[in-house]
């Protein structure tokens, strides 16, 4: 059983397996379930992600609070005009990350990756890149196993909870997971996956969890959006042969320690950061004073 990224890469290299295969084999060993059962469950999760993305990019969903919704559709319309500055792939991924988080905020069905608040990045990158790489269903499922393998290391050695480690632990982890998974999908090596994760997570370090009114909406939706763009660029950098001077496991450890020293006001309590701005407070008062009061 791998305990860290270094062991995961070593297992993949010595056994000449992909990271997704290492992850599937470990799952078989730990749970005693069959390969078929495990792959089928992941396929079901993939379908949930696909449906959430489809809904978010076609329907102008609205959250219960009214704070978020409709931005994925705006981006899709913007892409169609062809006047964008970055690239179609990046923007498609961004819009699909936004779509997932908007559906989540509207109490729709999503798959947590690794949490609900950070559920946009991993599927956003996958479905955004699909037009370019044209992956098969099996390759898409493998992408999720790679993302899960890296997330598994972070969850067990650091944290994937905003209340414990800030947004860096949620969207930061998701961004690293997506970057690593995209490298394998694009034909990179296991160690390039680790480099991509390190590069992506380094750029998320210190990110606080400061949701307005304590809701998984502002700024969570847009952080998933930018997380998706970082994941793609980090994967490109790793595929170009760029390495991280700080090894992936040490970046994860740094993230954990930063989370431990983060003030409580910046860990999902809606007491600091954007939540504590005049507008953040105004929105909070409006939401809890009126529309959400069900009694």
């Amino acid at each position: 059983m791998f305990k860290n990224v270094a062991e995961l890469i070593e297992l993949a290299e010595t056994e000449e397996k992909s990271i997704s295969q290492v992850m599937i084999d470990q799952e078989i060993e730990v749970t005693g379930r069959s390969r078929e059962e495990i792959v089928n469950q992941m396929m079901r999760n993939l379908n949930v992600m696909k449906e959430a993305v489809e809904r978010g990019i076609t329907e102008k969903v609205r959250s219960v609070s009214g704070l978020t919704g409709g931005d994925a559709v705006l981006l899709q319309e913007y892409i169609k005009k062809g006047q964008f500055l970055s690239s179609e792939t990046v923007l498609d991924a961004v819009s699909k990350a936004v779509a997932t988080n908007e559906v989540n905020a509207a109490m729709g069905t999503i798959c947590a990756t690794p949490t609900a608040g950070s559920a946009g990045v991993v599927p956003g990158v996958l479905f955004g890149i699909a037009n370019k790489l044209k992956p098969t269903d099996e390759q898409m499922v493998d992408y999720l196993f790679v993302a899960g393998a890296f997330g598994f290391v972070v969850a067990n050695n650091a944290s994937i909870s905003g209340a414990a480690g800030g947004c860096q632990a949620e969207v930061g982890s998701a961004t690293g997971m997506a970057a690593a998974a995209l490298v394998e999908l694009a034909g990179g090596t296991p160690s390039q996956s680790a480099e991509a994760m390190a590069i992506a997570l380094k750029n998320m370090l210190g990110l606080v969890c400061d949701p307005v009114a304590g809701l998984v909406e502002v700024p969570c939706v847009k952080r998933n959006a930018i997380g998706a763009s970082i994941a793609i660029v980090a994967a490109d950098m790793a595929l170009a042969g760029i390495t991280s001077r700080i090894p992936c496991d040490e970046v994860i450890d740094a993230m954990y320690k930063i989370g431990q020293t983060m003030p409580e006001a910046l860990r999902e309590t809606a007491q600091g950061g954007l939540a504590a701005t005049p507008t953040g407070r105004e929105l909070e008062a409006k939401i809890f004073g009126l529309s959400l009061d069900k009694k």
Partner: protein
């Protein structure tokens, strides 16, 4: 290792918006229903910490009631659960508590039907994972992620051995086990997390042992 399977990371499939405040809450509710073993007439739900502050915005209230109705985290009926509970004749009451708890996301559920009463305290630890930390006044740690057998018994020598002998006979492996009691020699609770699902006849066999009051199970 806090997280054991990849589906703790890529999963659960759930109704949004929060894995801790929505999916976790639904799971706590569902464990209470499973342990109660019947449809309650009344549910009192107490929220602490972050749950108390933000439950309306996160749908923690509808999620926990959805769980009490035995809905899965991905069941779309969760969004309408309070109405459904009313139609089914379940009275639901919510209480925002001021008390500081060890974990920021803590909920207490009290289910009642006639003279039957169950009181359970659960915490939501992130990514939809939960632990049950108190049941009818007993302290415990139950993840709800594995099949588990709960045995209410009298605090006497040999009772634990009797139970584990029967499990051994049926080739059921114990992954985690805890025993707690309110007072020496009085009522006690065994919580046994096992690797395989257990069937009804085994529970009847356990219940027939001396000094055992009640046996219930929770499935994966």
């Amino acid at each position: 290792m806090k997280y054991r399977t990849i589906f703790d990371i890529i999963g659960p499939v759930m109704i949004g918006p929060s894995s801790s405040h929505t999916a976790g809450a639904a799971r706590i509710g569902r464990v209470s229903r499973t342990l109660f073993g019947q449809k309650p007439e009344m549910a009192n739900i107490y929220f602490y910490g972050s749950f108390a502050k933000t439950y309306k915005g996160h749908g923690t209230d509808v999620a926990i009631v959805g769980g009490i109705l035995d809905f899965d985290t991905s069941d779309i009926r969760i969004t309408k659960s309070i109405e459904i509970a009313k139609q089914e004749g379940i009275k639901t009451y919510f209480h925002e508590e001021e008390a500081i708890t060890d974990h920021p996301n803590t909920a207490k559920i009290v289910l009642q039907k006639g003279n039957d009463r169950l009181e359970l305290v659960g915490i939501s630890i992130g990514g939809g994972k939960i632990e049950i930390i108190e049941l009818n006044g007993f302290q415990l740690r139950l993840s709800g992620n594995h099949p588990a057998i709960l045995v209410v018994h009298n605090d006497r020598y040999g009772v634990i051995a009797g139970v584990s002998n029967i499990l051994a006979k049926h080739e059921i492996n114990i992954g985690h086990m805890e025993v707690s009691r309110k007072e020496r020699g009085k009522e006690a609770l065994m919580v046994i997390e096992v690797d395989q699902n257990v069937e009804g006849p085994l529970l009847t066999e356990l219940e027939a042992l001396a000094n055992i009051t009640k046996v219930t199970k929770i499935h994966d």
